[in-house]
């Protein structure tokens, strides 16, 4: 039997299920308040999204609100990490993940404008809004993701362990 450190999970966090229900509740509340589900990429590039249930707001406030939503996610995650005692500056020690992150982000940015919508706004938001677009984007997103993952893994395998300065341990950690 696995000897996890905490509740069989190995960490002090929530269960996946708790997160799922929490996020679902948040989506429903947000939709009730604004008239649309939560979206990320549109706010990242400063599009003033009009929310049907928010009586006509100036586009300035909408852009600000969007930026704060995005910043809030980052801050909330930081809060969560601090709460769990896991916050740490994590610097990449190799270049392949950095390249993959940059290119991957770029592709996500482009795809999100075509679909239109990212995985949260388009797929999750679309499916829960009973919109066909969400399902269609979802199916192809999964297909694309599998291809992307295979690509990333092949790329990692090729670039070897690409450890610059392997053997340097900047952090003191308990070595068994």
């Amino acid at each position: 039997m696995p000897e996890g450190a905490h509740r069989g999970r190995g960490d002090t966090g929530w269960s996946y299920l708790a997160g799922a229900l929490g996020l679902a509740a948040l989506e429903v509340l947000f939709t009730f308040w604004t008239g649309r589900t939560i979206g990320i990429t549109s706010h990242l590039i400063g599009i003033p999204v009009a929310f049907p249930r928010l009586a006509a707001r100036g586009s300035d406030e909408l852009v600000l609100a969007g930026a704060l939503l995005v910043a809030g996610v980052v801050a909330g995650a930081a809060l969560g990490a601090v709460r769990g005692g896991e916050w740490r500056l994590r610097l990449p020690r190799r270049w392949p993940p950095a390249l993959l992150a940059g290119v991957g982000g770029f592709l996500m940015g482009v795809g999100a404008r075509l679909a239109p919508g990212c995985n949260v706004g388009g797929v999750l938001g679309g499916i829960i809004s009973s919109s066909l677009q969400g399902w269609v984007e979802g199916v192809f997103m999964v297909a694309g993701a599998l291809a992307g993952m295979k690509l990333a893994m092949a790329f990692e395998a090729r670039s070897g362990h690409a450890l610059p300065g392997a053997g340097h341990r900047r952090h003191r950690r308990a070595r068994p």
Partner: protein, 81 residues
Amino acid sequence: MRYLDLVDEVCPVPLLRIQEALREVPAGETVVAHLGYARSVRNVMEWAEREGISFTVKDLPGGVWEITLCRKPRGGGSGGA
């Protein structure tokens, strides 16, 4: 004992490296890895449990987890390491 410092690796690298190490290491020998993301820890734990590989997890301060895995040798001595 094989040690892997995977502290700043993001998914799926930790699992891939651990799988690789367990393949290379003879049965009965342990692989110890330091991971930096709880998500990766859960990932590896779930995989190891499915594969019947025994493991223990230590939650260290500062967002580091230490996981020790050991593939049990097959009984009966069929084929040597």
